[in-house]
């Protein structure tokens, strides 16, 4: 038998230790988070339907975020103590939550409008060379523009263009495609020992520089490819090898002295054409891998295969792949239920049904038709 007194004492004890949880409402969904959490992290806790898009924020990288404004949200009530709304839209990746905060993300048309504008700004100088770009299919900007972009552009000036640059023997920099999210700079700062590339110039003229094209010879430099949200930093060993959605991702690991060795192998037929770090559901790498794993181990015999990578059903990478768990029979029904809209249908339906004929019509062949109904 459980000692009730002991149980209650434990509960009190636990409440003492636990920090005060803050209650936040995002798009009408309540969630409790620890102090210091940002709105974006709180929204991610709820799920991908509520989480604002992020082009520059990258959870594993310290100080990232606040650059792209893709995650702007409206704060309808600042906190329980001071329920005034915040005057302007705020970047959810930088704003910490407060108790009783009410956040409007996709439910507010002002936020959607702002995001549409952000896409337009990000695409001002971004070339529309997705058919050529190796990032297409796993590109954050592509996803963002798919959700919020317009079909046409209002920009008529000359776009800024740069020559392609080689950063070391394995990485290619297409500065034309860069959206200046600074993720690669933070990666170089935090993952590698000494930074050899940063951002040169200011405003429209700023570009990712390597200080006179000095090659990054760091063991972990290849991770800038994975963190890049667009196709600005690409793998030279994978250049034009295949489209992302034709290759088959497989989780694998190996004993690596420098890194965790947990990677995703991308197969075309029997050949490994690319090795990347594993990405979580927010498209973020949590375990960075070394250049040896990424660029030099491209044989199946180097790896211990764990099994196919989980790819969301909506991703283009799952196209033309017929694993049992990618094709869900209930998917169509759930989609139909989610998209169902009651339509205004007030027609005169009295003529549509089968009409009852008068009983006199049958009197000759069926005399009982005239009998009163029981």
């Amino acid at each position: 038998m459980i000692d009730l007194r002991l149980l209650s004492r434990t509960t009190i004890y636990m409440e003492d230790v636990k920090p005060q949880l803050l209650k936040v409402t995002i798009d009408g969904i309540e969630v409790e988070v620890e102090p210091g959490t940002t709105i974006l992290q709180a929204a991610r806790k709820i799920g991908p339907e509520v989480a604002p898009p992020a082009m520059c924020y990258y959870q594993p990288l310290k100080a990232s975020g606040g650059k792209c404004r893709a995650c702007l949200v409206r704060v309808a009530a600042g906190s329980a103590k001071d329920p005034r709304p915040m005057p302007k839209l705020v970047a959810s990746c930088l704003t910490a939550v407060q108790d009783g905060m009410i956040v409007e993300n996709t439910t507010n048309p002002q936020v959607i409008d702002a995001r549409n504008g952000i896409v337009e700004f990000l695409l001002l100088n971004h070339p529309l060379d997705c058919p050529v770009c190796d990032q297409a299919g796993e590109c954050d900007l592509q996803n963002f523009a798919f959700d919020h972009g317009k079909v046409t552009t209002r920009y008529e000036e000359e776009r800024r263009t740069f020559e392609k640059q080689d950063i070391g023997p394995y990485i290619q920099l297409h500065m034309t495609r860069c959206i200046l999210c600074y993720r690669c700079v933070f990666t170089a700062d935090q993952i590698t020992n000494k930074r050899v590339h940063g951002v040169l110039g200011r405003g429209d003229a700023s570009e990712i520089g390597t200080y006179i094209e000095k090659a990054i010879d760091n063991d972990f430099s290849g991770n800038v490819i994975d963190v890049c949200p667009v196709g600005a930093l690409t793998d030279k060993t994978y250049r034009f090898k295949n489209r992302v959605w034709f290759s088959k991702p497989v989780d694998a690991h190996r004993d690596c002295p420098t890194c965790s060795g947990n990677v995703t192998l991308w197969y075309r037929g029997e050949d490994v054409i690319r090795v990347t770090a594993r990405k979580n559901e927010w498209n973020e790498v949590t375990e960075f891998i070394c250049n040896t794993c990424r660029f030099e181990k491209k044989k199946t015999s180097d790896w211990t295969i764990e099994g196919p990578t989980k790819i969301s059903r909506s991703s283009v990478i799952s196209a033309n792949k017929y694993r049992a768990d990618t094709v869900k029979p209930a998917f169509g029904q759930r989609l139909a239920a989610a998209e169902y809209k009651a339509i205004h249908d007030e027609r005169d339906t009295s003529q549509l049904g089968i009409q009852q004929l008068a009983p006199e019509r049958f009197a000759k062949v069926l005399p009982s038709a005239l009998d009163p109904e029981p």
């Binding site: 529309l128 060379d129 058919p131 050529v132 034309t176 034009f240 489209r243 033309n320």
Partner: protein, 188 residues
Amino acid sequence: MQLTTRSKQVSNKEMTLAEKMYLPAVISGLAITISHFFRKKPTIQYPEVKRYLGPIYRGHHILKRDEQGRERCTACGLCAVACPAEAISMVAAERKKGEENLYREEKYAAVYEINMLRCIFCGLCEEACPKQAVYLRHDLMVPVFLERDEVIYGKDRLVENMDDRYIRVANPEVNATPTEPSLTRAAT
């Protein structure tokens, strides 16, 4: 209640002599038959004579070139991912220095194959193509094949011949110099 105006009253009256001979009826029947000999024949002698299939018929695939004769296809793979029959496959390659007059973009399809046994001629590849490279000709059908190795069409049979360019009459956008949508103007 009258259901139709063509109904006739049936009678059992005695036939006349002319009717008993059946000759007028036979002759009038034969006259109908003979008159058909002199009518215009609706049959088309198919392999020799081919019928116009309309301006939107989806026939033989073609990989267009642009006005300077460069291949438009950039091997983006959208046709292959749109294809419900998975008939299209391709291998991309990077354009080298000096090949600018051959290929339009820095990437091109080194191999582009369509399996005509698989193709269902739905035209989704044409719709998916962002570079206006692949079209289904309205004026040419894929010929009958006798051997299985004839079925996979490579670039040698798909790329447009500059001396005999494909022009779609019904759609002025598919003329000899297809117009680019304004969006791709600044694409590198």
